[in-house]
């Protein structure tokens, strides 16, 4: 095979990836976009594998060394097993477990980048030539980013699953700790590049360990409610890690693809941060949502005077049946309770009666950007009635009933009214402007930001306590009962 074939194939793959991302910009082209990405991937992998069978002169000028049959066998087997595992997991995972899956997949990219980096260093060291400075720097950067991505994603995975406490771990002097770890990594790099030989290899291992600790610490310092930002940030890191691997191997396909993914993740993180009125730097350097714990005490004190009005399922059903327009605000609680399917039935009943029903999605509802949209789509709810915050905000005052399901911080009036609140300034869905608000909630607990919600105490808010799914099923039964008695 000639280098031209290889490079042309990579070019095709890169273009396919660009079109893949472009396709995802709209609903009707999204599936084609995914398909284009898959084709691009097959092209890239296929041509790389072919190049192992029929070697090409190395881009760095080396003479072609054909891959040994054993190596081919091992690599092929690894790829086969990996694909099977991936396919199995992907076809089994519940849509509510999507955040965890995405997080753990990010960690795989990080891990692969670390391994490729170390392997690339070992191979270069093996040849015994003097170390190529540029290549070594690429390796170090790649391993550094890869290790942070790897351990950071594993921690994010743990937090999303609930195996690690979602409360932020705020060590004293954590910024100093982060800085010290980073400086140590750089120092090790300088040492290794000067010394070379086995010292360099050991220094690389040590740096991998330090970067891993840094990754753990950065994500540990972030609270569970801010996971959408963290997950998309790690998505970005995994792209940069892949790009760095491309640099060390001199492979443009990797560089381009990594850069695409990296900037995609960066933009998503930026959008999320803007939606929460946070600085992106707070997330990058960890420890965001600081002060939430302290402030929750004070704000709980001020609103403890409020009175909560409760409503039962039958009363809520009556309200919904009497309403002409209903807006549903879903949150992570809906995902946890898997209430979306029952909810779909309620929506169908109401729509059949001529009620105008819409969903209002806050940009940071759930644990992933767009998480709620995916769950509602899973429940077969038309995306035409699923509105973004900006589209529906002005309609809320004209809405008869707003149903808040498992959402808390994203409908918290403190964000507008209470400058001492840690979420002050974050745009929220102004549910309280509607005629009535029915809030489905497990208990009077605080949301992930650890902030008490004055919405519960508003005059027009009615609380329907209990598991979201049970409550929605109860609503459904009550609505059907009303319909039957009306028919009889």
């Amino acid at each position: 095979m000639t280098p031209s074939i290889l490079l042309t194939a990579y070019l095709v793959a890169s273009v396919l990836f660009v079109f893949s991302l472009r396709g995802l910009s709209a609903q009707h082209t999204a599936r084609r976009g995914n398909l284009l990405g898959l084709v691009g991937m097959i092209v890239a992998i296929g041509v790389t594998f072919a190049a192992l069978l029929w070697p090409v002169p190395d881009a760095r000028g080396g003479s072609p060394t054909p891959a040994s049959p054993e190596a081919l066998g091992v690599l092929g087997a690894a790829m086969g097993v990996g694909c099977l595992v991936g396919a199995f997991v992907a076809s089994r995972v519940a849509m509510t477990a999507m955040p965890e899956l995405v997080a753990i997949l990010h960690s795989f990219v990080g891990l692969a980048a670390v391994l490729v980096g170390i392997g690339s260093h070992l191979r270069a060291a093996r040849t015994g030539e003097a170390l190529d400075l540029a290549h070594e720097i690429e390796v170090w950067v790649g391993v550094f980013v890869g290790a942070i991505t790897f351990t950071g994603s594993v921690v994010a995975f743990g937090k999303l699953r609930g195996t690690i406490r979602s409360k932020p771990l705020l060590l004293p002097g954590r910024h100093a700790l982060n800085a010290a770890l980073t400086v140590a990594c750089v120092a090790l790099a300088v040492l290794a590049l000067r010394a070379g030989g086995p010292v360099a290899t050991h220094a690389l291992y040590a740096m991998t360990a330090l970067a891993s600790v840094l990754g753990v610490h950065l994500v540990m310092a972030i609270g569970g409610g801010d996971m959408p930002v963290v997950v998309s940030l790690l998505n970005s890191y995994s792209g940069w890690a892949a790009s760095a691997a491309g640099f060390m191997l001199g492979n443009d396909a990797l560089i381009v693809t990594g850069a695409l993914v990296g900037s995609s993740g960066a933009i998503l993180s930026y959008i999320m941060c803007r939606a929460m009125n946070r600085s992106i730097w707070h997330v990058v350097f960890g420890g965001f949502g600081e002060g939430a714990g302290i402030a929750s005490g004070t704000s709980a004190g001020t609103s403890a005077t409020g009175r909560v009005r409760e409503i039962d399922v039958a009363g809520a059903a009556d309200l919904l049946l009497a309403a002409r327009s209903v807006v549903i605000v879903p949150g992570y609680g809906m995902a946890v309770a898997q209430a979306q399917h029952a909810l779909k039935e309620v929506v169908s009943r109401l729509e059949a009666r001529g009620t105008r029903v819409r969903f209002a999605i806050h940009p940071v509802a759930g644990r992933l950007p767009g998480h709620m949209n995916v769950l509602l789509a899973e429940a077969d709810i038309s995306y035409e009635i699923v509105k973004e915050m900006d589209e529906i905000q002005e309609e809320l005052p004209k809405t008869d009933v707003v149903v808040v399901i498992g959402a808390n911080d994203i409908v918290n009036p403190s964000a507008l009214e209470d400058p001492s609140s840690p979420i002050y300034g974050m745009p929220v869905l102004e549910a309280w402007r509607a005629g009535k608000v029915i809030m489905l909630k497990r208990s009077l607990g605080t949301g992930y930001a650890g902030v008490d919600n004055p919405l519960c105490y508003k005059d027009n808010t009615l609380m329907l306590f209990g598991d979201a799914k049970k409550s929605v099923l109860g609503l459904l039964a009550a609505i059907d009962a009303r319909a039957e008695s009306a028919a009889a």
């Binding site: 599936r31 690599l75 999507m98 995609s264 933009i267 309609e395």
Partner: protein
């Protein structure tokens, strides 16, 4: 009069006074018994002028029951630290209300400072603090203070009632033994608060409603109330101006509007016009030609009569018949529903009072955007017009809707740009000095790819963010290629191959899993 009330009055409490409105024909009052008891809970003592609420069905006895003290006009003005009014202060029988105001007292009510300079000067002479209920800014937080919207709502409803009472037919359609009745056709011009209220009221009486507005964004609001929206396009010009209000438009634009409306007027039985442009005379949207073209017995209610009217033939404060069409130019529609209007207005005033009260004292916070906007005078010092808010930064993809608060919108700092340039220099300088050519080639590719990615991703709709993330995640599995290149480097067995194999293994989990799961997700999205 109960003596107990007076005797238990704590002397150190600030006094809120509600005088009777003296404007001829004005029936509203600035407080109701319900708001009086809430005002007292804020720590005020409340005085109500005798008979203040009579016309709004709020008799003195009800005020007294709510804890107010009923007093004479003179006693009220002499004692009140805060006066709540509906209409701007005016002069009757040689006595001007502004002069009655206690020195240094606070006045809350409609003021219209732009039109009433002399009044403002007069109030300034009393060292008064004045808050204008007509100057509430249009942001979400201030909606509960928005007296104009509350009154517009009443006016819109009343306009339909006025029209129906002067229209000789049913509004709703019927099929009876005596024959079939067609529903009335109603045209509402201007879909602001009043227009929307009119649409809702006309719809609930059974009429078929169409609405016209130059701002295309209100279409959905019109349709949500069951009205049909009349679209209007004119060479890319829209009638939407600052703050969600309509704006003044060009002559050609106006002519096109008039022509379109004339056509619709000819098909309609009732026309309700509510078109206003802030600070300008109302646009003459309905020409006399359009009125001539209307069916005899039709009714026009012109809610813009106070600002000169939307029709060519409107007469202010009068009901006239022209070419067989009744044209209602009444300007006191809210006052004609005094009980309802007073209830709503009193609540907005109460909300304002609640906002400015600190420990039973009126204390205006000028750093508060809403209070600042409403403040006309402070201790006699002119505060109106308020400083203009910072303009929204240019270059935003869509201008934010008018009534969204932006509590912490900061001006763009020059630092990110400077730091960016600095960082670029720091990276590029060593590259230029020592970078090997092939590395620079890769850097070129990298930078261009970042830029492409940046532009492509911005177009993604938020609903697709999760699929996007999972597809990018699958794509970043391209690191598999790295593993293959590394592992295929000629090793037979050894550490490098083992590392490469593991890398390939995890990366392929990523690739297969990522694409499959994205496909699953996308399959679920349906229209």
């Amino acid at each position: 009069m109960s003596e107990t009330e007076t005797s238990t009055t704590p002397s150190d409490r600030k006094v809120v006074g509600i005088p009777r409105e003296i404007h001829p024909g004005e029936r509203r009052v600035a407080a109701t018994p319900a708001t009086v008891s809430r005002i007292r809970k804020l720590g005020y003592h409340v005085l109500v002028e005798k008979g203040a609420g009579d016309a709004a069905n709020a008799p003195d006895a009800a005020f007294q029951e709510a804890g107010a003290q009923i007093v004479s006009r003179e006693a009220l003005w002499a004692a009140a630290d805060v006066v709540l009014k509906v209409r701007p202060p005016l002069e009757i029988d040689g006595v001007h209300e502004a002069d009655l105001l206690k020195e240094g007292a606070t006045l809350i009510g409609h003021v219209w400072p732009a039109q009433n300079e002399a009044l403002v000067r007069r109030l300034a002479a009393r060292r008064a603090t004045v808050l204008a209920m007509d100057a509430v800014p249009r942001i979400s937080r201030a909606q509960k203070l928005d007296a104009l919207s509350a009154m517009a709502n009443v006016a819109g409803y009343r306009a339909v009632v006025e029209a129906a009472s002067r229209f000789g037919r049913f509004l709703g359609g019927q099929t009876t033994a005596a024959g079939r009745v067609r529903p009335a056709q109603v045209l509402v011009v201007g879909a602001g608060v009043a227009g929307l209220a009119a649409i809702a009221a006309a719809r609930s009486l059974g009429a078929v409603v169409r609405a016209f507005d130059t701002r295309p964004v209100v279409r959905e609001q019109v349709e949500s109330l069951g009205g049909r929206f009349i679209p209007f396009e004119f060479k890319g010009e829209t009638g939407e101006g600052e703050g969600g209000y309509a704006r003044q438009v060009s002559d050609a634009y106006l002519a096109a509007e008039q022509e379109l409306l004339a056509k619709h007027c000819a098909e309609c039985d009732i026309v309700i016009t509510t078109a206003l442009v802030p600070g300008k005379p109302a646009p003459k949207l309905i020409t006399s030609g359009a009125i001539v073209g209307m069916r005899r017995g039709s009714v026009i209610v012109d809610l813009a009569a106070e600002q000169g009217g939307n029709t060519a033939l409107t007469e202010r404060d009068a009901v006239v018949e022209r070419f067989g069409v009744t044209i209602v130019g009444l300007t006191d529609l809210p006052s004609r529903m005094a009980e309802q209007a007073s209830e709503l207005y009193a609540m907005t005033v109460y909300h304002l009072l609640e906002e400015i009260t600190r420990e039973g004292q009126p204390a205006i916070d000028e750093s508060d955007e809403v209070q600042r906007a409403m403040l006309v005078l402070r201790d006699g010092e002119l505060k109106w017009p308020p400083p203009r808010p910072e303009p929204v930064r240019a270059g935003a993809p869509t201008p934010p809707p008018p009534d969204r608060p932006r509590p912490t919108e900061r001006p763009a700092s020059p630092w990110p740009l400077r730091l960016g340039v600095l960082a670029a220099c720091l990276v590029l300088a060593p590259l230029a000095a020592w970078g090997p050519p092939d590395l620079l080639q890769h850097v070129t590719v990298f930078v261009l790819a970042c830029i492409v990615g940046w532009h492509v991703i911005w177009n993604v709709t938020p609903a697709l963010h999760t699929p996007l993330m999972s597809v990018t995640n699958a794509i970043s599995g391209i690191i598999l290629v790295g593993g293959l290149v590394l592992g295929g480097g000629g090793e037979r067995w050894g550490a490098v191959l083992a590392l490469a194999a593991v890398a390939v293994l995890v990366a392929s989990v990523n690739v297969a899993g990522g694409f499959l799961v994205t496909q699953r997700m996308l399959r679920m999205f349906r229209k």
